[in-house]
């Protein structure tokens, strides 16, 4: 097959080489467009973090967000340092990971 292609290319004029390159370029453009479009469709899933603060000693904790978390909520979790009540004081999203 490779021999056939080399023989074929060797026998071509400049005009036909340009024509083949042009066709290959158009195919490349079409594929890159399809790839671009499929990447546009990908949705990103944010990593959501919840920051808690101990109401007694002010120690701060960061953990992953759990459903029903909201700012000012006392979650029932205890401070590891002093045993005080933890209160949510910040919720935010970090860099996103892409999902299909």
């Amino acid at each position: 097959m490779i021999n056939y292609i080399v023989y074929f290319i060797g026998d071509l004029s400049l005009n036909s080489v340009i024509l083949i390159l042009l066709i290959l370029f158009i195919i490349f453009l079409l594929f890159s467009d399809i790839l671009k479009r499929s990447s546009a469709m990908k949705l990103s899933k944010p990593i959501i973090k919840t920051e808690l603060i101990c109401v007694r000693c002010g120690f701060k904790y960061v953990r992953n967000f759990k459903e029903d978390d909201f700012i000012s909520k006392t979650t029932g979790e205890k401070c590891e340092r002093c045993g005080g009540i933890l209160r949510i004081y910040r919720i935010y999203s970090m860099e996103e990971k892409r999902v299909k």
Binding site: D11, R37, L43, I48, I71, Y92, S93
Partner: protein, 380 residues
């Protein structure tokens, strides 16, 4: 292989003649059918994006329905959800604009109450009020996505039907931008499902942090001062601050305009007066601007259809009260999805800006209104 063999059998001059004829043919095709080819390429591109929009719309609807099913045993849920996401509001006639704000406010209140009541009718299990509000917000985002899809599909089908190149060219230019908007709405559905603070919650977040700051001393709390809006009175920098914010943690924007109006009037009736109004809100950033950057200006920093803004402007003009706006720059996607760390980090900066404004623009013991405008989702 047979074709290649045939081509190789042709002599050099004949071969070049065929290639040149092909070029000429291509040239003529492009001259006479260029626009038609372009029309079909554009139609395929727009059609692909609209198909993806349909997938996104279906995902949003499925997510919303799934969330409602957690709190409902009704059998006709799908039908009812479809009814809600296809609902609409007709704006009042503006041919005679006198009194249009009052009419608009009436229609908006009616729509808001009806939408919430319709959701409450869907919920059959015992559910916390804030959860119902979050479901309401999910439905709103799904409705927006549904409307966007329907409008774009309408123009796409119209262009296809009439073979109108210029219609499809406009769509080709617009659809990628609107597609990003649709992606934002789909992300918003997830944010509302979890009940996390969104970028637009920056106003209520600043208000919350100001109230609970070590340098603030809480004097009074007026829950439901006006519908869905709370007012906290604090002492800070030897000034009395009335902090206005929408009631949380459910998705809700409250009525900050009505609250400011009533506060100014009530303080006047009590023999005192408001000396300054400071408004904090999220604002759409320009592409080159940094998310979370803070800008300062004058005027009523509040979005929406204009009723609340009108009320604030009327009131501050009536009593000649200076009004200062602090806006936090965000993209549309950031405004309606879970708040980004960069934006949440700007709260400290905004509070120090508020302190600076208070100290430079007012005297000791002055009464000031601070309004944290935005959706209070995820912020008590």
């Amino acid at each position: 292989m047979l074709v290649i063999n045939l081509i190789l059998q042709i002599g050099g001059d004949e071969y070049n003649l065929i290639i040149q004829s092909l070029y000429l043919l291509l040239f003529l095709i492009l001259i006479f059918f260029g626009q038609r080819i372009q029309f079909h390429i554009a139609l395929i591109e727009v059609g692909g994006l609209i198909k993806q929009l349909n997938v996104m719309r279906t995902m949003a609807r499925k997510d919303t329905l799934h969330e409602i099913k957690k709190y409902s045993e009704r059998k006709d849920l799908e039908l009812e959800v479809d009814r809600l996401i296809n609902s609409f509001m007709i704006q009042p006639e503006s041919l005679d604009p006198a009194g249009i704000v009052r009419k608009l406010e009436h229609i908006l209140n009616l729509r808001e109450n009806k939408f919430l009541n319709d959701i409450k009718k869907l919920i059959t299990k015992k559910t916390l009020e804030y959860k119902i509000r979050n479901i309401g917000n999910m439905l709103e985002a799904t409705l927006a996505l549904n409307t966007l899809y329907k409008v774009l599909e309408h123009y796409y089908l119209l262009a296809k039907k009439t073979g109108n190149f210029y219609l499809v060219a406009q769509l080709q230019m617009l659809v990628p931008l609107l597609f990003n908007e649709a992606k934002a709405y789909l992300h918003a559905v997830t944010a509302f499902k979890f009940g996390t603070p969104i970028g637009d919650s920056i106003g209520p977040l600043v208000a919350y942090n100001l109230i609970h700051d070590k340098a603030s001393y809480l004097i009074d709390i007026k829950k439901d001062y006006v519908k869905d809006t709370d007012v906290y009175t604090i002492k800070r920098n030897n000034r009395i601050l009335h902090v206005v914010k929408a009631q949380g943690p459910g998705g809700n924007v409250g009525k900050p305009g009505e609250a400011i109006k009533r506060l100014i009037e009530n303080r006047k009736n009590d023999g005192s007066e408001i000396k300054l109004v400071i408004m904090i809100d999220a604002a759409l950033k320009l592409e080159g601007e940094k998310s979370g950057s803070v800008a300062e200006g004058v005027g009523a920093a509040i979005g929406g259809i204009g009723v609340e803004k009108f009320k604030i402007e009327e009131e501050v003009t009536k009593y000649n009260i200076p009004i200062i706006a602090l806006v936090i720059k965000e993209s549309f996607l950031e405004a309606i999805t879970t708040i980004k760390k960069d934006i949440a980090d700007s709260i400290k900066n905004i509070i120090s800006r508020i302190d600076h404004i208070i100290l430079s623009e007012s005297k000791e013991n002055d009464e000031i209104i601070i309004a944290g405008v935005g959706n209070s989702i995820g912020v008590l």
